[in-house]
């Protein structure tokens, strides 16, 4: 099956749902990379290039939203979530305006462009903003669901999207609800692997590797980092007693942090966080980088095995 990047799915979903005339798409001179040019081809009058000025773009998006527009503001995650962080906070989140941030090129799988362009802190930063919803879909279909949910949700949404083509996990008939995790695999109660973004596919593969070794785990796709599905996480923690989180993000403050916070108050248990160990990425081929930083099915399986052995 052809691999599709979530950024591709983002552009397509914008074009698909673009018949809603409230939708306006802003980009900061990266339309071909963020794939908002797919929307532009269909609705050129509602695609507005803001040039290389992300701070201005976010506040312009806010101004547009005050008039009833549903605004998608797009750039690379590092420039959206970080360069324009304070504009997102003060002009979008504080007045709870209907702006959706389409942040592509998240994580180290950006590849050759290197650390300057590999955003590994955005989940932590964005989920700490009041009024912000944070989503991190894993494949094209889930991205489509996420865009639809973002349009239906009244208020700011941060959408974490990737550059790298990824395998498809979901079909159109998958049930999807903002804020509700998806149990993808339920082999048993030895542990639960909780993953987000393109790590979900790796987690599913890790479950298969573990099964061959007689270790039976659940795999949960947390596509909505905020609000996080506390009930499902508590249920899994109660059933399995051990949680492994996997994300293409710093282990500080992202999915792992959010899971720990949720479980600390509901069902405390051992949590092993897999991600970037408080370090920046580097240049290289995406697959080699994922290997280098331990973000593969094999490494997830190893870590899960070790976590289970602690029991």
């Amino acid at each position: 099956m052809a691999k599709i990047a979530t950024r591709e799915a983002y552009g397509k979903a914008l074009a698909e749902f673009g018949g809603d005339e409230r939708i306006v798409v802003l980009d900061a001179d990266l339309s071909k990379s963020t794939k908002t040019d797919t929307f532009k081809k269909v609705y050129p009058e509602r695609h507005i290039n803001m040039g290389i000025a992300e701070g201005n773009m976010m506040a312009v998006a806010a101004g547009l939203a005050t008039t009833g527009k549903v605004v998608f503001a797009s750039s690379f995650a590092v420039f959206a979530a970080e360069r324009a962080c304070e504009q997102i906070r003060n002009s979008i989140c504080y007045p709870k305006l209907n702006v959706k941030i389409g942040a592509t090129h998240a994580g180290i799988s950006v590849g050759e462009d290197g650390a300057s362009h590999q955003c590994v802190e955005d989940l932590a930063i964005m989920r700490s903003l009041p009024n912000m919803v944070v989503m991190s879909p894993c494949d094209a279909q889930e991205t489509r669901f996420a865009i639809k949910a973002a349009i239906e949700h009244e208020g700011p949404v941060y959408l974490r999207l990737g550059r790298l083509g990824v395998e498809e996990l979901y079909t159109e008939d998958q049930k999807f609800e903002l804020g509700k995790g998806i149990v993808l695999c339920d082999n048993g109660n030895d542990a639960t692997i909780v993953a987000t973004g393109l790590m979900v596919q790796e987690a599913v593969k890790a479950a298969e590797l573990l099964k061959a070794k007689g270790i039976n785990v659940k795999v949960v796709d947390i596509h909505t980092i905020k609000p996080i599905d506390k009930d499902l996480l508590a249920e899994c923690a109660k059933a399995t007693g051990t949680i492994v989180t996997v994300e293409e993000h710093n282990i500080i403050g992202g999915l792992g942090g959010a899971v720990c916070e949720a479980l600390a108050e509901t069902c405390p248990c051992y949590v092993k966080r897999i991600g970037l160990n408080d370090t920046f990425g580097t240049s290289g081929k995406p697959a080699e980088l994922l290997e280098k930083f331990g973000l593969t099915a094999e490494k997830i399986a190893e870590a899960t095995e070790a976590a289970v052995a602690r029991k």
Partner: protein, 280 residues
């Protein structure tokens, strides 16, 4: 402008100054200097220019106003209250815990506020967004914003200025409250943004310089802005920080300090004398 209208606008400006000082004194915090310097601009906008409806603050076709220099909320709130958006007596609750009158403008809590501001440089971008929406929707509302001259040091102001000219937003009019002072001192000493008019002209704006305390001059500049096609207009308003209160005028120490009881009494006496003079 007829004499009666001019008197009315001067009186409203006087009341904006009075209410600003009263509210800041009651809060024991706030920004009097810049609130006093924009009173005449607000008077023209709210009482002679903008189409707004206090009974329907979110009216889709209304003219928009963004106070990019959000710290001058006391003057903005005074104008809104005088216009009838909320009771004038509420102004004295400014900055208090249970009040809806946030220290900086909040569109979520204050009727009539079109955009939450306070972080400098962002309001002009929001105004650009509103003006773009007006163009997209082919509506004829206009968008007004007021910037501080210290605020011009924020790079985002120039990103927004480039964008407004690029998209030919002739429905956007920005004022620069050129009072020459910011918290740390004179703007020319802290970070010189002069020549302001040349900079905006270079960015492709229609530029008009006026005496920011001359109601008729402001009125005429707004008319010129409305008549200008294909580019946004900036009205560079030469003002005096603290205008109307002798001991505050031209003194940067009054950027963000509240007057004490004695100072408040003196300030209000001076402002009231001007208002009384207008009533003849």
């Amino acid at each position: 402008m007829n004499e009666q209208k001019l008197l009315e606008l001067k009186k409203k400006a006087g009341l904006i100054r009075r209410y600003s000082i009263e509210a800041i004194a009651a809060a024991k915090s706030g920004h009097p200097g810049g609130s006093l310097s924009i009173a005449d601009i607000l008077s023209v906008l709210f009482f002679d220019e903008m189409k707004v409806d206090p009974k329907n603050p979110k009216w889709a076709d209304r003219d928009r106003f963004v106070l990019s220099k959000g710290h001058c909320a006391p003057a903005y709130y005074a104008a809104l209250a005088l216009k009838g958006f909320f009771p004038e007596e509420d102004l004295k609750t400014l900055r208090q815990t249970e009040s809806y009158l946030e220290g900086h403008p909040s569109m979520k809590s204050v009727p009539g506020v079109d955009m939450s501001t306070g972080s400098l440089g962002q309001g002009i971008s929001c105004a650009v967004g509103m003006a773009l929406a007006g163009k997209l929707d082919k509506k004829d509302y206009r968008v007004y914003t007021i910037l501080g001259d210290g605020e011009l040091e924020e790079g985002q102001v120039w990103e927004a200025s480039m964008c407004a000219a690029h998209y030919k937003l002739d429905n956007l009019t920005a004022f620069v409250d050129l009072n020459g002072l910011q918290i740390d001192g004179a703007t020319k000493d802290v970070m010189n943004s002069a020549p302001v008019t040349d900079k905006f002209a270079a960015f492709g704006w229609n530029v008009i310089a006026v005496d920011g305390h001359d109601i008729e001059a402001i009125r005429k500049a707004v008319d010129d802005a409305k008549a200008t096609e294909g580019k946004p207009t900036v009205i560079v308003a030469n003002t005096i920080k603290g205008k109307g209160v002798s001991f505050m005028e031209g003194n940067y120490a009054w950027h963000g300090n509240a007057p004490d009881a004695e100072q408040t009494k003196t300030a209000l006496e001076e402002i009231d004398a001007v208002i009384a003079g207008l009533e003849g």
